[in-house]
């Protein structure tokens, strides 16, 4: 019995996944619309969106993430962050106390106090994110309003401290509070933004979606008549640099990355912008950028050789480049990647793998493992499946593969963790991709696992990383073959 033959309920209508309320989105192409995705309810074993802070704070090097929540939030973040918590990281939790729960007037004053103290200790912060949590949402603490209030206070004080301003005191400002902070801030005023990382609204990687969405209003406008390519989604710096070189060789540009490495250097967006998503979990961000006039390119995700080729193809088409040109530029890295990948294909070919839902990266990675490594995908469990953003992937899956009449595999959205484990125990895949709360228990039952969060933290996109991605799946198989007990 394969996991794919587990009876699945009918497709749910108008499924919102973990996204909450949204405006109507543009309709996905017909193929994407018809692609079968089973939906299941039940206990979800997933991180909340706060976990995104762990990589976002490394990417945005001058931003600080202030979680407004409970001790649970603080504890989760330090459990997820591991060693990074000890490096004076640019994130912290303002832990709500009973006094704050008593009256929202108190909570807002407390928040202002905490922000002040924080900015006094960290004058290098240019952008402060107030991150909403389950508790802050349940008590309806409006962090967007708080952000506005703080921005206003900083703006007022910055104006007052401008040299030549009639309000300029003859002595340096000694007072405490927001005013002093703004006066001493090296870059003028820190910008305060708010977004939700709450588990009520966001599942794991969707925490990046809500964060980027919060930055969109501040993106400068791309001047009329100009065009640009905006790559959306966090990529490792080394991958970005590789992509930059290839875009330059292709003659596609200007290329910007969102998120940028500095929250002060936000990329422009406008009607001339073409969006190329590097990550699949960015539905809200894509829609916000489209509302600014940008156009979303339908593309695969840059995972694996073919996926990366398809990704560059989408940009090349938008730039009107000839196919021969693209083929010429990409030939060398593709050839190199094939050589590197060959090392692992023998080992992976024919092995059966099941994905439990985690990051939304499951479907493109499964596509790569099946099409380029010859693995058999029993099921790709996903926390949410955005048909529109996955249209390029669905297209790739629907193409007939050599020797394969059916290039696709079962995608199941959501799911009950206990039932999923039942299915895994029955099917006994060669490899089960799952979270760290499940990996050791499955290993103890003799089931080889691949811990899923490594796929989020490792550079896996692009030609140069395709073999690395394969190696992440080969290694647990290698280990199981090597150990002798």
């Amino acid at each position: 019995m394969t996991l794919a033959s587990v009876p699945v309920p009918a497709l749910a209508e108008g499924r919102q996944g973990g996204e909450g309320l949204l405006e109507a989105s543009p309709q996905p192409e017909a193929a994407a619309r018809d692609f079968p995705v089973a939906c299941e309810g039940g206990q979800r074993q997933a991180f909340c969106g706060l976990a995104g802070i762990v990589w976002l704070h490394r990417k945005l090097q001058d931003a600080f993430f202030l979680v407004v929540g409970s001790r649970t939030c603080a504890h989760m973040l330090q459990s997820a962050a591991g060693v990074m918590i000890f490096a004076a990281p640019r994130f912290a939790t303002a832990i709500l106390e009973e006094r704050d729960l008593a009256g929202l007037a108190d909570a807002n004053a407390e928040l202002d106090r905490v922000v002040t103290r924080l900015l006094e200790r960290r004058p290098d912060i240019a952008t402060l994110f107030l991150v909403g949590t389950c508790p802050s949402e349940v008590i309806k603490l409006d962090l967007h309003k708080a952000a506005e209030r703080l921005n206003q206070a900083f703006q007022t004080q910055a104006d007052a401290n401008r040299p030549g301003s009639p309000n300029q005191p003859s002595q340096p400002i000694q007072s405490q509070g927001l005013s002093a902070t703004a006066a001493t801030h090296p870059t003028g005023r820190p910008r305060v933004l708010a977004y939700s990382g709450s588990g009520l609204e966001t599942t794991f990687t969707q925490g990046e979606d809500t964060c980027l969405e919060a930055l969109v209003p501040d993106l400068p406008a791309l001047p009329a008549g100009e065009s640009s390519l905006l790559v959306v989604g966090t990529l490792a710096d080394v991958v970005e640099d590789q992509f930059c070189r290839l875009f330059a060789e292709l003659g596609i540009g200007p290329v910007h990355f969102f998120p940028p490495r500095s929250a002060r250097a936000l990329p422009p967006v406008g009607p001339g912008t073409r969006l190329l998503l590097a990550q699949p979990f960015l539905g809200r961000t894509a829609r916000s950028l489209e509302a600014r006039g940008a156009r979303l390119l339908t593309a695969t995700f840059p995972i694996g050789i073919e996926g990366t080729r398809g990704w560059f193809d989408a940009a090349a088409r938008a730039w009107g480049l000839a196919e021969e040109r693209v083929a010429a530029v990409l030939a060398k890295p593709m050839e190199r990647a094939r050589g590197a990948l060959a090392r692992y294909q023998e080992q992976l070919r024919g092995k059966r793998v099941a994905f439990l839902p985690d990051s939304q990266l499951e479907a493109p990675i499964a596509r790569f493992l099946q099409q380029e490594c010859g693995m058999e995908i029993l099921v790709a469990g996903v926390p949410y499946f955005d048909r529109r953003l996955m249209a390029g992937e669905i297209d790739l899956l629907s193409r007939p593969q050599a020797g394969n009449t059916d290039g696709s595999f079962a995608v199941v959205e959501g799911g009950d963790v206990d039932r999923q484990l039942d299915a895994v125990r029955t099917a006994r895949p060669d490899l089960t991709v799952c979270g760290l709360g499940l990996a050791n228990p499955l290993e103890a039952e003799g089931l080889t696992t691949k811990w899923s969060i490594e796929l989020v933290f490792s550079p896996i996109q692009g030609f140069e990383q395709a073999a690395d991605l394969a190696e992440l799946f080969a290694r647990p198989l290698t280990r199981r073959a090597r150990l002798r007990f």
């Binding site: 909450g20 206990q43 979800r44 074993q45 997933a46 991180f47 909340c48 706060l50 976990a51 762990v54 990589w55 090097q61 409970s70 001790r71 649970t72 603080a74 504890h75 989760m76 330090q78 459990s79 997820a80 962050a81 591991g82 060693v83 990074m84 918590i85 000890f86 490096a87 004076a88 990281p89 640019r90 939790t93 303002a94 832990i95 709500l96 106390e97 704050d100 729960l101 909570a107 928040l111 905490v114 103290r117 924080l118 389950c134 949402e137 349940v138 709450s198 588990g199 009520l200 710096d237 080394v238 206990d418 760290l436 499940l438 050791n440 228990p441 290993e443 103890a444 490594e454 933290f457």
Partner: protein, 632 residues
């Protein structure tokens, strides 16, 4: 609102999960939003549990708040019962669920499931993890045993003749510091004096076992933070006395044996305890016919004896241990381990306690009393920055604390060892490594003393001061591992590599100038020291679990004075503050005459001395004034 970068304790419900996970046959339903299930990985990764923690989560999301979360709770409770068939189903709420006031416990009770349903009252907004653990254990024991309570005033039934005295071991728990091995060590200790261990709880106990707690003659409160309230209740309700001494350290273990002897109400036990105590000291009679007057080093396996005689007393007495005498030790952690450590440091290692504290406010009183006895003011705080400042200010030569104090000590270049939760995966070692009993005392000696340089080496190296081979300046790679250290991987393909890779290219976070100028910037890219388990990082399976000591090898920044005392490079911060004293070239030269492995400390001390007195230029005189001031 409390601004927290680091929290020593998790939320209250985490304590409940630790009790449920420690036991068998207990399942916990936690009414909680999606995301709270992160807690599972702490059990599977830090403790390497081969099974999932026995908890189900309602994992509600926004869309569930529209309709009734009550249905979710009922469904989840039924499903948990049907799948896991627990002997007891505990119902708890995380902080967010508590705000919803769904009355999860009452709802589950109303289902009429054929097993006891225990609602947990876990105030998430005023209490924390450790309290939650103690409270959950207490509630569970009480719920199971209250119906069997004897009438007040009814005497305890007498022990059956021929029945050996029996004791329950209470307090060992999941994610507790060395609980697994302490249970073994204490069981063996009790067996050596003729006391049977009846029930161990919560670790490994089923609810059915808890029903039999009152059968034992007395309880042993191994971890007061977890079991104190339960022991007190059992005493009130079943007239069961309890042993209050925690057997960590030689002296405490002897006190423990004496207390057990009293409570066991058995002359055999008293005599066996006395014999065992006699074997734990310096002078040990070796079999028959030897002179009992001659102090001789103890042998661990004396003929005819199956019990463990500790080496710590002899090792502390041995000649090279004089280098320990008077060394300054800063201690912080949970109260049980901090208090025990202070006594060992003071009375059994000849060192000096210069700082003592706990993050558990509930345990403030005993810690304050103990600190007073050492002439100190106790540090009662859950703010790690306060602890860090206190450590820096007290200039210790050894730091004993939680994983956070270990990281602080590494950053300050001070030898350290972990003695308490919260701890990371390397503090749950594969090998047997108790803290309790005579066996634990020897583990403690090795663990705490290992990081400090062995005395003989110190003498030898003094002879080589200024020698070209040992070098005046730190080596460029600073890669030689120090004694007993293990090089930690700084990169690699394991989970450790993940954290390192995620950190690579990051800007080092510089410290503020309020710190001592000698403190190194913690450069995340250099992955200093062992990488604690987190989702993002897992340390490699290192041979030595504790202490996770700075080997110096991974202090690739080579800015900090590491534990071998390599010269401290002047950090950029030092020059920024106008009040920072400047070294006269003659003084610098004089400093070079100090052995390189203590030069860093000497430099720090002198600068601190000068700064405090507003001395602008450090001269040779200043150097020696500082030396006289600090001593050693």
């Amino acid at each position: 609102m409390e601004l927290a970068v680091w929290t020593y304790e998790g939320p209250t419900h985490m304590g409940a999960l630790r009790v449920a996970t420690a036991m068998r046959g207990v399942h916990c339903l936690l009414h909680a939003p999606q995301g709270d299930s992160y807690a599972d990985l702490l059990f599977t990764m830090i403790e390497r549990r081969p099974g999932r923690p026995p908890v189900s989560y309602t994992s509600f999301q926004q869309r569930d708040l529209g309709r009734s979360t009550a249905d979710l709770i009922k469904e989840a409770a039924r499903a948990a019962y049907e799948r896991f068939h627990p002997e007891v189903l505990m119902i708890g709420e995380s902080c967010t669920a508590e705000l919803l006031q769904d009355q999860a416990g009452a709802l589950a009770r109303g289902l009429g499931l054929p097993v006891p349903v225990l609602p947990l009252d876990l105030p998430s907004w005023s209490r924390k993890e450790t309290w939650g653990a103690g409270e959950t254990f207490h509630r569970l024991v009480r719920a199971l045993l209250k119906p069997r309570a004897p009438a007040p005033g009814a005497p305890r039934p007498a022990r059956a003749s021929g029945q050996a005295p029996r004791a329950n071991l209470l307090g060992p728990i999941a994610l507790g510091f060395r609980c697994r091995d302490d249970v073994t060590a204490v069981s063996r200790l009790l067996a050596a004096i003729g006391v049977e261990v009846h029930i161990v709880a919560p670790l490994g106990a089923r609810p059915a076992n808890l029903l039999r707690l009152p059968e034992a003659d007395f309880n042993v409160c191994l971890y007061p933070e977890i079991a104190e309230s339960t022991c007190a209740w059992l005493e009130r309700t079943f007239r069961q006395p309890w042993v209050k001494t925690v057997p960590i350290g030689i002296g405490a273990t002897r006190d423990f044996l004496a207390e057990v002897g009293k409570l066991a109400a058995s002359q055999d036990v008293v005599e066996a305890a006395a014999r065992l105590m006699a074997k734990s000291g310096l002078s040990v009679p070796v079999g028959l016919g030897s002179s009992g007057d001659q102090p001789r080093p103890p042998q661990t396996h004396l003929p005819g004896m199956e019990v463990y005689a500790p080496r710590l007393p002899w090792y502390s007495q041995s000649v090279d241990a004089t280098y320990l005498t008077g060394k300054r030790v800063f201690i912080f952690g949970d109260a049980t381990h901090a208090l025990a450590a202070a006594r060992i440091v003071d009375q059994e290692l000849g060192m000096r306690v210069v700082g003592l504290g706990t993050y558990l406010r509930e345990q403030a009183r005993p810690v304050r009393e103990a600190a007073q006895a050492y002439g100190l003011e106790a540090l009662i705080t859950a703010d790690y920055l306060e602890v860090e400042a206190a450590i820096a200010a007290s200039h210790p030569e050894l730091v004993l604390g939680t994983q956070m104090e270990r990281h602080v000590a590494k950053r300050l270049g001070i030898p350290c060892a972990v003695i308490s939760s919260p701890a990371h995966v390397q503090d749950f070692p594969a090998r047997y490594a108790p803290q309790m009993g005579f066996e634990g005392a020897d583990v403690i000696f090795d663990t705490w003393i290992g990081p400090l340089m062995m005395g003989l080496e110190e003498h030898l190296l003094t002879m080589f001061r200024g020698d070209f081979e040992f070098g005046e300046e730190p080596r460029a790679d600073a890669s030689a591992p120090a004694t007993g250290g293990y090089a930690w991987e700084t990169s690699g393909t394991g989970p450790t590599g993940m954290a390192a890779a995620a950190q690579s290219g990051a800007l080092p976070e510089s410290r503020t100038s309020t710190q001592s100028s000698a403190d190194a910037s913690f450069a995340p890219g250099s992955a200093v020291g062992p990488v604690p388990a987190g989702v993002a990082g897992q340390p490699p399976a290192a041979g030595t679990a504790t202490p996770a000591v700075s080997t110096g090898s991974t202090s690739a920044t080579a800015e900090g004075g590491d534990k071998t005392g390599q010269p401290v490079a002047r950090s950029e911060v030092a020059g920024d503050t106008p009040a920072e004293p400047v070294w006269d070239p003659l003084a610098e030269n004089e400093l070079k005459k100090i052995p390189f492995f203590v030069r860093g400390k000497a430099r720090r001390n002198t600068e601190c001395f000068a700064r405090e007195r507003g001395i602008a230029t450090i001269t040779v005189e200043t150097l020696y004034d500082a030396k006289a001031h600090f001593g050693r």
